[in-house]
């Protein structure tokens, strides 16, 4: 078998491969010998097949174009099918070269864009501080009682009551301490979260209970406040404004649904 010392690159498409072959030849695109190029192109496809690489249809189309150009050259000039040229309006060789030149230009400019992309990564815009105090909406009064919370959680639990009939029994996957971390995590990225949002993803009654217990625990530890912007409005949970640095894991004993209620 012939020995290839060519570094096997992955080519974007047939044009990319052709440009590579032309570069190897170290000739100008306009002066390239298309017959030779056709042979090399086919060799490459053969090699790709040996490596079990999937050969995209575009490569085969290009191969057939090249073979057409090559076969056409085998005919004496006066016997070539003139009609073909008249219909297509262009010499297939010329058409291919035009396409290669165009593609090459865009490939070159893509390299320039890449330089710009890298350069832009190192450029930092000036971000001035805020010029005036933002008129912050008054924080709703923390006047939610335990009964409001219980009502709210009961509403959430109604979702699970409706299911009856056969039931699957799962092990309890949730712990209160896990849920505490979950709530803290949410509130580190959000200013406030609505009560119902907190339970949106809950899969079962016991998960709701766990989350609710975690919420109560965090309120007890004075890390959260619950507030209602209007009577009977949606309860909002937010971090206590003057947040003292809080240890993420409170030193309460490992909580299970039974212990903290």
């Amino acid at each position: 078998m012939s020995e290839y010392k060519v570094k096997f690159e992955v080519f974007e498409g047939p044009l990319d491969l052709l440009l590579y072959l032309i570069k190897e030849e170290e000739v100008d695109i306009y002066e390239v010998n298309l017959t030779k190029l056709a042979t090399q192109f086919i060799e490459y496809i053969e090699m790709m097949r040996e490596f079990d690489l999937e050969i995209a249809g575009e490569f085969l189309v290009m191969a057939s174009t090249l073979m057409y150009i090559k076969s056409r050259e085998l005919l004496p000039v006066d016997q070539r099918a003139e009609t073909e040229e008249d219909e297509e309006g262009a010499d297939p060789r010329w058409e291919l070269i035009r396409q290669l030149v165009e593609y090459k230009k865009f490939k070159d400019v893509a390299a320039q864009l890449q330089v710009l992309e890298e350069r832009q990564e190192g450029i930092f815009p000036r971000v001035p501080g805020k010029l005036e105090f933002e008129n912050t909406a008054p924080v709703p009064k923390p006047d939610v009682s335990i009964f409001d919370l219980l009502n709210a959680v009961n509403n959430v639990l109604k979702r699970f009551e409706k299911r009856d009939g056969t039931r699957d029994i799962f092990e309890d996957k949730w712990t209160v301490s896990e849920k505490i971390e979950y709530i803290i995590r949410i509130l580190s990225s959000h200013e406030a979260i609505r009560f119902s949002e907190l339970f949106e993803d809950a899969m079962s009654r016991s998960e709701v209970v766990c989350t609710f217990l975690a919420l109560l625990e965090l309120i007890r530890l004075k890390q959260l406040i619950c507030a209602q912007s209007e009577d009977f409005g949606e309860i909002e949970i937010r971090k206590r404004p003057t947040s003292v640095v809080v240890p993420v894991a409170p030193e309460t004993p490992h909580l299970t649904p039974g212990t903290s209620s």
């Binding site: 498409g13 575009e58 090559k70 864009l113 992309e117």
Partner: protein
């Protein structure tokens, strides 16, 4: 008071890049204030052309001063930015910019074609690249660098694509005319060279014998002829 320094102060304090139109609005609003003096009032209806001239002048001043920052225009809006060579320290200060991963080679090529030839259809892009661009187009659209801008009035009314403002921001370009070699690539005219393309030796009516042989023989021959592959 020189206009360019007024502009400098505005850009220095602005919360976001400002376009000449936005700057004009600032001048108009300033003149509306009760305590506006003659200078402020005189600039009430400043023309965009004057602003642009002053902004260009300001940018040149900063360039000449050689400080660590510049006034630049990206996507039509002006702002202060640092020079790239200070990136190592700035990265440590503000943390690595939350920037998406760099674009792949196919993405860059496709993006270049769209940028220079917009608006154009997917088929036209494929014709230039010679390969299917569905996957790449999806990536570019998801990243918001490319968008559908309309439909071509041809059979099937395919979508036309163009680049977005984000594209200009991503590459730090003032506008599309700021693209490298814009004039040349906007419409590539390939000038046919005087001699026709070389396929076989010119003085032979038919190709050299090597091409008439069976594929295997041809391969060996051409390999010998090719420079060290």
């Amino acid at each position: 008071m020189e206009l360019k320094y007024i502009l400098e102060s505005l850009l220095f304090s602005a919360q976001k890049p400002l376009s000449p139109a936005e700057l004009r609005e600032v001048f108009a609003n300033a003149a509306e204030q009760e305590d506006a003096d003659a200078t402020v009032k005189s600039l009430k209806k400043i023309k965009e052309g004057e602003l642009n001239t002053a902004l260009e002048q300001l940018a040149q001043d900063h360039e000449a001063a050689g400080r660590s920052y510049r006034v630049v225009c990206v996507a039509g809006s002006w702002q202060f930015v640092t020079q790239p060579e200070f990136a190592p320290w700035l990265k440590a200060l503000v943390g690595v910019k939350a920037r998406p991963t760099r674009l792949s080679q196919p993405s860059l090529e496709t993006l270049a074609i769209i940028a220079y030839r917009q608006p154009l259809t997917r088929a036209e892009i494929e014709q230039i690249r010679g390969v299917n661009v569905d996957g790449v187009m999806q990536t570019l659209m998801e990243r918001g660098l490319v968008e559908a801008t309309g439909r071509a009035e041809v059979v099937g009314r395919p979508s036309l694509y163009g680049t977005t403002t984000l594209f200009l921001e991503y590459f730090g370009l003032k506008g599309l005319e700021d693209l490298p070699a814009a004039d040349e690539l906007r419409k590539i005219v390939v000038v046919k060279p005087p001699s026709s393309p070389v396929t076989a030796d010119a003085d032979l009516a038919t190709s050299p014998p090597e091409q008439l042989q069976m594929p295997e023989g041809g391969e060996q021959k051409s390999e010998a002829g090719a420079p060290a592959a």
